[in-house]
Symmetry: C2
Subunit: 461 residues, 2 copies
Amino acid sequence: MSMKTIPHRLYLTEDQIPKQWYNLRADMKEQPEPIINPATGKPAAVEDLYPVFCKELAKQEMDANTRYIDIPEEILDMYKIYRPSPICRAYQLEKALGTPAKIYYKFEGNNTSGSHKLNSAIAQAYYAKEEGLKTLTTETGAGQWGTALSEACSYFGIDLSVYMVKVSFQQKPFRKAIMETFGGHVMASPSDTTNVGRAILKEDPNNFGSLGCAISEAVEKAVTTDGCKYVLGSVLNQVLLHQSIIGLEAKKAMEILGEYPDIIIGCAGGGSNLGGLIAPFMQDKLTGKANPKIIAVEPASCPSLTRGKYAYDYCDTGKITPMAKMYTLGCTFKPSSNHSGGLRYHGMSPIISKLYHDGYLDAIAVEQTKVFEAAVLFAKNETILPAPESAHAILGAVEEALKCKETGEEKTILFGLTGTGFFDMTAYTAYNEGTMTDYIPTDEELKKGFDALPKIPGFQE
Amino acid sequence: MSMKTIPHRLYLTEDQIPKQWYNLRADMKEQPEPIINPATGKPAAVEDLYPVFCKELAKQEMDANTRYIDIPEEILDMYKIYRPSPICRAYQLEKALGTPAKIYYKFEGNNTSGSHKLNSAIAQAYYAKEEGLKTLTTETGAGQWGTALSEACSYFGIDLSVYMVKVSFQQKPFRKAIMETFGGHVMASPSDTTNVGRAILKEDPNNFGSLGCAISEAVEKAVTTDGCKYVLGSVLNQVLLHQSIIGLEAKKAMEILGEYPDIIIGCAGGGSNLGGLIAPFMQDKLTGKANPKIIAVEPASCPSLTRGKYAYDYCDTGKITPMAKMYTLGCTFKPSSNHSGGLRYHGMSPIISKLYHDGYLDAIAVEQTKVFEAAVLFAKNETILPAPESAHAILGAVEEALKCKETGEEKTILFGLTGTGFFDMTAYTAYNEGTMTDYIPTDEELKKGFDALPKIPGFQE
């Protein structure tokens, strides 16, 4: 079915919400390398994950074969409160750019958590409740994941402790307030509530934190507390699985519009949004049905894909999580206090990493002030104030649209607008006042991180 | 057409967006009393409004006869970026309350301005551009109107000065940042940029402002600046006209669902949302087609309908605007620094006032802590963090739903969820920490306001 006039926004109906998640691994010709249990130095079995993760989520983490996984009814019930999210045609942005390209975006910010993170938060809180858990711990960077998980835990009646990257905690005071409104307990990380946190603070009392450090603290808290497990908002295979709902809805909506994207663009921190958005399009690519160009946009201040190494590394700074093969800057890499807190992670989803390594997607790194320039251009034309993370994808889309202007090509561009910037006004103020700076790590800085990569006999010498 | 299963959210399609606003006055059996020009003491002619308002808007203000007014194409183009807004069924809230009632809400917060205010901001900015104006001035309370107008002015290329009620300016630092991101110039009111502001500050240097005062400043600035006019986000007839799109969409969506509300509830500050939401349902009531119960919910701290007088009064504190007959606490009434900045206005839309006076709607006044209790209950169940203003309507709906629980009646309740609370985290923090207080003005305080009402020979002695 094709629609004659493309509306500004298309919402699928409630009964068009996908009933199954799509597991991209089932169609990958080569699988990501196995994760390594740091205690044994050998590939981890699903049981190795049980002390940290809920059983059902551990199974999803390790399941590379089941192509489609049913979404439980209780999860669908909560999805229906805010989904489907719209596919929007950026008519005004196209006009402002004077491009012949057609620009679409999948807008995931239309819920109180303000981002796509709620899609996986609901799933993870649900499985925790099903397992009879009373408490969860997690980390949050920009605060989007922590907000989403607070909402989901409140809904399912689970207690939640959130370790929030200190720089975000300071830059986004109201993020704490919203998490607390939903009942979450929020601590600035590094904190003095864990061994990992105390050790970091002892060495560097002014450490402003990183996602890697916050993960260490949350995992430590989970494994040392009865009836408590850990959940993570990005990087993991299970998260990409849950986020596939973004891409599945987007593809269905584009079909209704009679469109198929030539280019698909997502911001990339841990890979949750990118992996979810591209999933069904990547399936077409892997199965030879179509060949869209896929672009990951990451911050130049934390360039894991464009300047990182494809190597085994810990997922956290404290080196207590399993090791995964991924594009990484080294788990000891200290990202600058770049405002896009959600993209300040040293590694990248192993699935995204493998696909990037095998040439299925491109990546670019962009500087912060240019990202905000694109954000404001977008806001003024499309009336949505984007999250700085999302604005990386906007900049990517703007650059592709301007290339089309040069060549005259009428390409169809789809990007993921992951969230809103209501809690990022400190950063917007810095941009408005001209005090925002850019930061690009030197090769020497990166070398330090690479030198500290773990040695794993038989896997990484 | 009726749908078997009622979805959680129903979006009309783009081509179902109303193409005309509905002018409620055309169906009122008795018209609101004429506004009085303070310079002459006589009813104002449309020309009397030209120094302050754009001509087209002045005409809309005075037009009580044209039932439907075409929405210009350029306005519809911008509406389409964020409209239609959804009708939502509050399944989870119903479950939490254990009520047999069906609760629906029209959610107007799904745009960056965060509220319904954008509907009229777009219209007013458009007509200003059509008239060739370069600059607009306005006031803002909670900051929602200022944000919406900044967006609309940015879109149409108009310069904007915003006088923001000082207490909101202080409580909501990020509101300023978002208005500035869209190019608005924001000043705390009372300010030293106008005669009115300077006079108030001289008498009371710590005056925390009011909508009435901010209006005076913005009007003074407009009439003393070349190529500049004034726009207002509530109270006015023209605003209710533009906001009728809320009710028109809501009614159409309810029809599709096979529903008609028994009770319609809106928060009431100046009346913009309430007037817009109820417009087509009030038409049914005025023309005898249906008889829904309509409830305005106002803050006990600023109770213009429930404790005010139906009298001629100035729309502003500085007494430079025309006088309108409305429910008022007196333009000298100083509302407490209640957090619901958007409801801190001494008067009420003359249309709403007349309808209330003639018995077409009910009103209740509620206390702030109870409003936030309802807000958090709603947030936890429906995953949307409401603006404090909107939460007044939530509380009204909760109370009606609990009455249904007692009586067993399966009433259909519709309320207006006007906006989101992302910029109200200071208030939420106060509520979370138990430091929020309530305030109810004494009869003596109110008497002072009533005693200062203007005397207008032949109209109000």
